[in-house]
């Protein structure tokens, strides 16, 4: 009986989903014909680029707020900060520091705003964060495509389009590229492991580990488990939720900064577009659910998800002589993972709901 229970416990989404990803990745890799080294190098790069972004999703899940698709807002905040700094031509290290300061400031502010909005829509956080993401994207475009050059003026004209209005589609980050990327490079065979950057990602992972093991973290977990009970226990649930969103948005800002720095090119209007979906899919691929997410889910998930992502187009080309089919597979996996996580999770929702103590006659 115990073995049966153990077996049943093993075959749950936490283990099943990563297992499926491993299987699919392996198969796709075989068909792609790409070398193991190439794939591994690519995955390590993705790990560094997307690591912090995926990590930023963890705390909102723990707080019971589901998948935070609004991390795009954090990404946009840091991109805004970047454009301002480049616009005013502050270079070098002071530039980077300024980007971080302004970025953190903006993202904290926006996180606060988002937290407030989500407190009004308890139970419907996920759909709201998607809409928030889209809405802020329009505002972002409005500012940078229409505002720059008309209402807002910056000294650095290089970043403005030739017609005089709007920021260019791509801004070169040449000055930041290759600075810290290849720091402490470890070479094993054909595999390149940039230790410094990996340590940075792990540092952020450690930070989340720490924060969840504090009094604050316990309150977050309580709120995520049962809001009503938390209120009776004296926890200010609304405040906790706002703090969680600030944390998530600020982390996303850092994550996007690392991402952009690593790529070296800044696609002003598209860099942040799929951040939310890809990061969420990666988190889920690692075995997380919309109710439970751990650091290991995030770290493992990036490997699993991006491996599949990297090999799919080539596999499609080899199998069907049509690379596009591989592309479709990527989209399907990304959206499909999230769809499945949403469908197969609502079951455990109402298990522990207890009624609030209502006075008689009310």
């Amino acid at each position: 009986m115990r073995i049966k229970q153990q077996a049943k416990g093993f075959i749950n989404s936490e283990h099943l989903v990563p297992a499926i990803f491993i299987l699919l990745s392996f198969l796709a890799w075989q068909y792609s014909g790409l070398s193991g080294n190439f794939v591994l190098n690519q995955v390590i790069t993705r790990f560094i680029r997307d690591g912090i972004l995926v990590l930023s999703l963890i705390v909102p899940v723990v707080a019971g707020m589901g998948l935070n698709f609004a991390i795009t807002v954090g990404a946009m905040a840091v991109q805004t900060s970047l454009l301002i700094v480049i616009g005013y031509q502050v270079e070098g290290v002071p530039g980077i520091i300024l980007v971080i300061i302004i970025g953190v400031f903006f993202s904290a502010l926006l996180g606060y705003l988002i937290g407030h909005i989500l407190n009004r829509v308890k139970g419907k956080e996920m759909i709201t964060t998607i809409i928030i993401g889209f809405l802020f994207n329009s505002i972002y475009q409005l500012i940078f495509l229409v505002g720059f050059g008309t209402i807002i003026d910056v000294p650095n004209k290089d970043i403005i389009l030739t017609r005089g209005i709007g920021v260019r589609n791509t801004v070169d980050l040449g000055m930041y590229r290759d600075t810290i990327d290849k720091l402490w490079l470890l070479k094993i065979g054909g595999i390149e492991i940039p230790l410094f950057m990996i340590l940075i990602v792990l540092l952020f992972a450690g930070f989340i580990f720490y924060i969840l093991r504090t009094h604050f973290g316990q309150e977050v977990k309580a709120v995520g488990s049962n809001t009503e009970t938390s209120e009776i226990l004296g926890i200010n649930t609304n405040m906790i939720r706002i703090k969680v969103m600030i944390l998530s948005t600020v982390l996303a800002a850092f994550g996007q900064l690392v991402y952009l720095q690593n790529i070296g090119m800044f696609d002003v209007y598209t860099a942040h577009l799929n951040t939310g979906v890809i990061s969420c899919a990666a988190l889920l691929a690692g075995g997380a659910s919309i109710k439970s997410a751990k650091i290991r889910h995030a770290l493992m998930g990036i490997f699993l998800f991006h491996t599949l992502f990297i090999v799919s187009p080539q596999a499609g080309q080899n199998l069907f002589s049509n690379a596009a089919l591989g592309e479709y597979f990527r989209s399907f996996v990304a959206y499909g993972t999230i769809a499945l996580a949403l469908i197969f999770n609502v079951k455990h929702e109402n298990k522990y709901k207890k009624p609030v103590q209502k006075p008689e006659g009310v």
């Binding site: 720490y210 924060i211 093991r213 504090t214 009094h215 604050f216 973290g217 316990q218 977990k221 309580a222 995520g224 488990s225 049962n226 009970t229 938390s230 209120e231 009776i232 226990l233 004296g234 926890i235 200010n236 298990k351 522990y352 709901k353 207890k354 009624p355 103590q357 209502k358 006075p359 008689e360 006659g361 009310v362």
Partner: protein, 528 residues
């Protein structure tokens, strides 16, 4: 010795319905003070005020003053109460099911690493899991329980959860006043005694204890002082040595002047429905083991203290909550509780939560009255080629609704008026009219006159009597209002802790009812 808590002239009403009326109470440090009261007595409201439940503030606050440790207080949320050294053991357990025993006990007081305390402050310092669990274990051992602090709450049995709930409060070093809401309700006798010893120990440490319970024997055993609440008023107080179970039971109910609206009559013991080991899993109002036969043509009352199961029967019958056990209707066992099937068989349930599930608030009186009849029995359908689609024959519907409005004196501007605009009493009449439209043989009604003004109350009770006398509809009436049950029922079944405790005749004494509600047998005479 100065009292730790002084309540002076406390008054609280919800939308002009008084819940607490001129309460005067005081508790000394180290005193165990019992609160006893039946439904609607105001116990819950009192606790909510003391513990800072936000609902108090949201519904207009309270009048009067509460002096705690010499200072006037008015808590806006539970956090404030907790900060001031007030603790509460909730009836429904304020435990986080996904967290461990240790985490729940230490929530808010976790053991942390000292250097992170200094660096980042209490809120953000790193928790020392090992030390934390050890500390929790210490508290548990104090309670005489040894469970692994690493077990998650949802893996624990109910009575162990009760102890964890208590442990959380005992673990506190700043506790000055502890409120316990039915702490022994889920415990067996031994565990109950264990708890009482613990409480005595706490009282010795000068912690004031407010002990709310329906188990009168316990109250007599443990309390230094007992206050009896009834209908929001403080009706009596007794000191240790002067506490008698029978007196408490009588005080709880009060003296009910009832004029039986219907004379005593002979009901043939022919069961229309029989429940055998029936249980309903309605959170907060569980029926654990019901054995009852309802006789054809009778009006049987069903009463209990709040949370003891009277409200769950109707909901269980309509498949709203998981049920177990056997139900025989007309001699045939009901395989599963399907609302539609049961309605077609002649059963109908009028829920107590009228606003929540009794009416379609945004729809007209007409639509509300004909709804079930039309949906389940295809009544008021235009019989034509398109009958299958079920268009309403409005003239037929109107005739029926007009008759209902007239017969029951439903006050509305027109049959098209939205039901949410009607008064509580008229809404209830609409509900009963809807029930009558399907002509049920067995009607389950819960709290029929809740939220209804005096004049409408009469009308509604009369309606129920009418239905029973003229159509021979059997009525199972769940209510917390003993006086109305006494007026219309042929028998009254008293439930306690999810089971039928006693079936009393409507003219049984107040004391009998009080004792039955508390699940006490009572004694012929008492040793004082």
């Amino acid at each position: 010795m100065k009292p730790i808590l002084e309540i002076n002239n406390l008054y609280k009403s919800y939308k002009s319905i008084p819940a607490l009326d001129n309460i005067n109470l005081s508790i000394k440090a180290g005193e165990i003070h019992g609160i006893v009261g039946a439904n609607g007595s105001g116990k819950t409201t009192l606790m909510n005020i003391l513990f800072g439940n936000p609902i108090i503030h949201e519904t207009g606050g309270f009048q009067g003053e509460i002096i705690y440790q010499g200072k006037k207080i008015n808590f806006k949320n539970c956090g404030e109460a907790i900060l001031n050294g007030i603790g509460m053991v909730h009836q429904e357990f304020a435990l986080i099911p996904d967290m461990t025993v240790g985490e729940n006990i230490k929530l808010g007081r976790e053991k942390t690493f000292a250097f992170t305390d200094r660096l980042f402050g209490r809120q953000y310092s790193f928790i020392n899991r090992k030390q934390d669990d050890e500390s929790a274990l210490q508290t548990l051992i104090q309670l005489g329980i040894s469970i692994d602090p690493g077990i998650k709450i949802f893996d624990l049995s109910i009575n162990l959860r009760q102890f964890v709930e208590i442990a959380r409060e005992i673990d506190r070093t700043d506790l000055k006043l502890l409120i316990l809401d039915e702490p022994t309700a889920v415990l067996n006798k031994n565990d109950g005694l264990k708890l009482i010893e613990i409480l005595k120990g706490m009282a010795k440490r000068d912690i004031g204890i407010l002990f709310i319970s329906h188990r009168l024997e316990e109250v007599q055993h443990i309390c230094d002082k007992v206050s009896v609440l009834r209908d929001g008023k403080l009706v009596s107080q007794y000191e240790r040595g002067n506490i008698s179970i029978n007196t408490l039971a009588r005080d709880m109910i009060g003296h009910i002047v009832t004029k039986a609206a219907a004379g005593k009559r002979e009901i043939l013991p022919q069961p229309i429905i029989t429940f055998s080991h029936f249980s309903v899993e309605m959170p907060g109002e569980e029926i654990i083991d019901l054995d009852l036969s309802v006789y054809e043509g009778e009006i049987i009352g069903l009463t209990s203290l709040s949370g003891h199961g009277k409200l769950a029967l109707g909901y269980g019958m309509m498949g709203m909550y998981p049920v177990q056990g056997e139900v025989y209707y007309g001699g045939i066992k009901i395989a599963n509780m399907d609302a539609k099937a049961n309605i077609l068989q002649g059963m109908y349930v009028l829920p107590d939560d009228r606003q929540g599930l009794g009416i379609l608030a945004d729809q007209s009186v007409e639509n509300n009255i004909i709804f079930t009849g039309n949906q389940v029995k295809n009544m008021f359908r235009i019989e034509s080629f398109f009958a299958i689609s079920g268009f309403i024959d409005h003239s037929q519907a109107r005739d029926h609704v007009d008759k209902m409005i007239q017969d029951f004196d439903i006050k509305c501007s027109s049959i098209y008026q939205k039901v949410k605009e009607l008064s509580g009493g008229n809404q209830q009449k609409v509900c009963i009219a809807r029930a009558l439209t399907v002509d049920p043989k067995l009607l389950f009604v819960a709290e029929p006159t809740r939220g209804v003004d005096i004049s409408a109350k009469e009308k509604i009770l009369h309606m129920l009597l009418e239905i029973n006398r003229s159509r021979n509809t059997t009525i199972v009436m769940a209510s917390s209002e003993l006086d109305e049950l006494k007026r219309v029922c042929d028998r009254i079944a008293v439930m306690a802790e999810g089971r039928i405790f006693k079936i009393l005749s409507p003219d049984a004494s107040d004391e009998d009812f009080g004792l039955a509600l508390s699940g006490e047998e009572g004694v012929a005479y008492e040793e004082l």
